[in-house]
């Protein structure tokens, strides 16, 4: 089987997308089983012990494609930086990609390829919780490989050898919801949700915080992921005099829902839309005017005035000029960066040993001095990390969205496991 090798210098996001869209098209079709879009990025030099193999399993096609592509680009960028600095203890990192195509059924087969054929030392990826649930077994149990999950999610993932580098409900809701209720005065909440595990558990946590702060959840509803008709939901929002919609509908249902909500005049009449995964990348999903006035709470925003962040963005923009996939927090890109850096730090701490037991033990006490949004610190024994959390509101300027950061909470505890 031929392997395509591209040197890191020549990689451009757009080329890669075109190259991958074919097979991933099949996988997104959902009716061709077992098709993979294996892709390899080889470093420029070799080491006696061989390269460190890192596998990325993310959604290059399908509804979650904008997030997946951002993840892949950030992974390449982070690895390139590390390799440019001499790799990890002199060993370069070799990067492999498999497209999970936003379909857990296909992802399982493709991830197995990473483990069995490429024999990677660590896998980073998965965006939706459905995807994580599907691929964690082939990676962690059957594959006996380390797995780092970079996206914000619903918590309660305490599997050994599975580290989470994205925000948890505690980190997101504890800041955002009191602000919505106390500062903005919104008391009547609606929870339109996609029907899978992340919204269900997140809503449970959010409900607790809402009620503890004096708010009221008027209705909580779940829809199939590809639902396109939301007239009943929008009707209930109107009739129930909802003033804050805590949205957990994800693509592909997200676009029709936002449009139908916007057209019903919800925001015009003072309602607030709040969604904890909305970031600057959402322009790839939803037109700007539907996001105006939206509230979110994430670990990083591009508007942050921090020299490390600015340098990070500049480097990313240099590597991927004019890319449509920005480096943002809601699409797991920040978690991916953190994940790669945590892995680097852990391998350095073990002195170059790659066995997952040792790396995991080292990662357990991992600390990052610098990262997007600020430093990050693994909580020992808890598989999750502390990070800065920011509440922001979305403003529209021209056709672009700009997030105005309203508050910052430093090194918030994930409160998991």
């Amino acid at each position: 089987m031929s392997k395509k090798t591209i040197s890191l210098q020549q990689s451009h996001g757009v080329d890669r997308r075109r190259v991958l869209q074919g097979s991933a098209a099949l996988t997104a079709a959902g009716w061709m089983g077992g098709l993979a879009s294996g892709f390899l990025l080889s470093p420029k030099w070799a080491h006696a012990d061989g390269p460190i193999k890192m596998g990325i399993a993310t959604d290059i096609t399908g509804p979650i494609a904008p997030g997946g592509n951002a993840n892949w680009q950030v992974a390449q960028y982070a690895v390139e930086q590390i390799n440019a600095g001499g790799g990890i203890l002199g060993r370069p990192i070799e990067l492999y990609l498999e497209d999970t195509a936003s379909d857990p059924k296909i992802a399982v087969g493709n991830v197995r390829k990473l483990i069995q054929e490429r024999k990677v030392d660590v896998v980073l990826g998965g965006i939706t919780s459905a995807m994580r649930q599907a691929i964690k077994d082939p990676i962690v149990n059957r594959g006996r490989t380390l797995y780092i999950y970079p996206q914000l999610y619903e918590g309660q993932e305490c599997t050994k050898y599975l580290f989470c580098t994205g925000p948890t409900p505690a980190q997101q809701c504890d800041e955002l919801i009191p602000r919505l209720i106390k500062t903005l005065g919104k008391k009547r909440f609606a929870m339109p949700s996609a029907n899978y595990v992340w919204p269900q558990l997140l809503n449970k946590y959010a409900r607790k915080v809402i009620e503890a702060n004096g708010g009221e959840v008027v209705f909580e509803e779940y829809y199939p992921l590809d639902q396109v008709e939301y007239s009943a939901t929008v009707g209930k929002i109107r009739d129930g005099k909802i003033d804050c919609v805590f949205n957990t509908v994800i693509p592909p249902g997200l676009q029709p829902f936002c449009k139908q909500l916007y057209e019903s005049g919800f925001q015009k009449n003072g309602g607030i839309l709040s969604c904890v995964y909305f970031d600057e990348n959402l322009l790839n999903y939803v037109p700007a005017q539907e996001m105006e006035g939206l509230y979110t709470c994430l670990d990083y925003f591009q508007a942050l005035d921090d020299p490390f962040d600015k340098e990070l963005q500049a480097g990313y923009a240099k590597k991927f000029p004019n890319t449509t996939f920005p480096f943002t927090a809601g699409s797991a890109a920040t978690g991916m960066y953190r994940g790669v850096k945590f892995y680097e730090a852990a391998v350095k701490a073990t002195g170059g040993k790659l066995a997952r037991e040792e790396v995991a033990a080292a990662m357990d006490t991992g600390k990052l001095e610098n990262g997007p949004g600020g430093p990050a610190e693994m909580v020992p024994g808890k598989m999750h990390c502390k990070m800065n959390m920011y509440v922001a509101v979305c403003r529209v300027e021209g056709a672009k969205t700009k997030y105005e950061v309203i508050s910052k909470a430093p090194m918030v505890d994930p409160k998991e496991c």
């Binding site: 089987m1 031929s2 392997k3 395509k4 190259v19 869209q21 074919g22 097979s23 098209a25 099949l26 079709a29 959902g30 009716w31 061709m32 089983g33 077992g34 098709l35 993979a36 879009s37 294996g38 379909d103 857990p104 059924k105 399982v108 087969g109 197995r112 390829k113 069995q116 054929e117 919780s129 459905a130 649930q133 599907a134 964690k136 077994d137 082939p138 149990n141 059957r142 996609a194 029907n195 899978y196 595990v197 269900q200 779940y222 199939p224 992921l225």
Partner: protein, 351 residues
């Protein structure tokens, strides 16, 4: 006088079998058997290929079940994956909630689930005022689609996430992981199912099925209880699908709503059509060809983009010009029971 004699000579020569045609089907079956048995030895050291071959074996079971319905009996079941996915879920649930994954219990359980479910669906779709083929096709498609939507919303079975971390298949205290052992198990099961189905279709029962496929009304007039036969074959096909679903669940370690929906159902149709319906070995070959090509072409970018389109054209070509599929190229009409595909003569609707 001499002309008549020469004609008589000729016909007697024919009757004595001087031009006996070669029976291709058993040869093809033997060839496939050899490939299946030899594969693990050739592939030692490539675990990913063993996994691929195991998947092929499992999916060809599904294709065979479709062939029994369509290729032999003329029941176009566009929802065969329903009887694949539901038993797969049952297996995963039994493993998760009851902790049982012993092969002696779970495989028969899957067979029973497939059988019963197919029986219920057959009661609804095949029985009663004679249902048109369109109704059967659409009904099965709808059933498969509705089941997928229902399961996508049901929290207990994992909703859209599906069920992952399925408990490994056990025989006593031995656990089947992906690899040569699972491959061997799948092969044994395929062999058993194949021989059983083969015996079935070459029996009197099979002849009745062929008659139903050709002209249902005629057979009904001849006194056969057509509906009972159709229900029987449909239920048996469901049973075979059930085994396939259980094996898939154990092998992948994952089962999701997509495994019972129209996507997989139509995949089974394509496998069977490409390979050659009505031959039992055709679906196996069709599955192998499609899955192997897909895997191999995954790494060749220029072809990869066009592969599904190409496959669609191949499928269209098969339907238009070679309804007997790949196997039909080698196997003559005489070896198959009854004819198949588009009727060449007569155009336009019966007015």
């Amino acid at each position: 006088m001499s002309a008549q004699q020469s004609v008589a000579d000729e016909s007697s020569a024919k009757r004595s079998g001087l031009r006996r045609p070669l029976r291709m089907l058993p040869l093809i079956e033997l060839a496939v058997l050899c490939v299946i048995v030899a594969a693990p030895f050739a592939l030692n050291g490539r675990p990913d290929l063993i996994t691929l071959f195991t998947n092929i074996i499992i999916l060809s079971l599904l294709a065979i079940s479709f062939d029994l319905c369509w290729g032999f009996s003329g029941i176009l079941s566009f929802g065969q994956a329903l009887f694949f996915g539901v038993p797969g879920y049952v297996i995963a649930l039994v493993g998760r909630d009851l902790g049982i994954s012993q092969i002696w219990l779970t495989i028969p359980l899957a067979m029973l689930t497939g059988l019963l479910l197919a029986f219920v669906v057959a009661l609804f779709l095949l029985v009663g005022r004679r249902p048109t083929p369109i109704f059967v096709a659409l009904g099965t498609l709808t059933g498969s689609y509705a089941a997928e939507r229902l399961v996508s919303g049901w929290q207990y079975v994992g909703a859209g996430n599906g069920l992952s971390a399925v408990k490994l298949l056990q025989m006593g205290s031995y656990e089947f992981v992906e690899g040569i052992e699972f491959y061997s198990l799948a092969c044994v099961i395929l062999l058993a199912v194949y021989l059983g189905a083969r015996a079935l279709v070459r029996s009197q029962f099979g002849l009745v099925l062929a008659g139903i496929r050709q002209n249902e009304e005629r057979l009904a007039f001849l006194g056969y209880r057509v509906q009972i036969f159709k229900m029987l074959v449909f239920s048996l096909a469901g049973m075979i699908s059930g085994v396939a679903g259980a094996l898939y669940s154990y092998h992948q370690g994952f089962i999701g709503p997509g495994n019972m929906g129209p996507g997989l159902s139509t995949q089974a149709v394509i496998y069977c059509l490409l390979g050659g319906p009505g031959t039992l070995i055709g679906p196996v070959i069709g599955t192998a060809v499609i899955e192997l090509l897909t895997y191999v072409l995954a790494d060749i970018e220029s072809i990869r983009q066009f592969w599904p389109v190409f496959l669609g054209f191949v499928l269209l070509g098969i339907i238009l010009f070679q309804p007997n599929g790949i196997v039909g190229v080698a196997v003559s009409i005489r070896e198959r029971i009854g004819s198949y595909g588009l009727r060449r003569k007569g155009a336009g609707r019966q007015g």
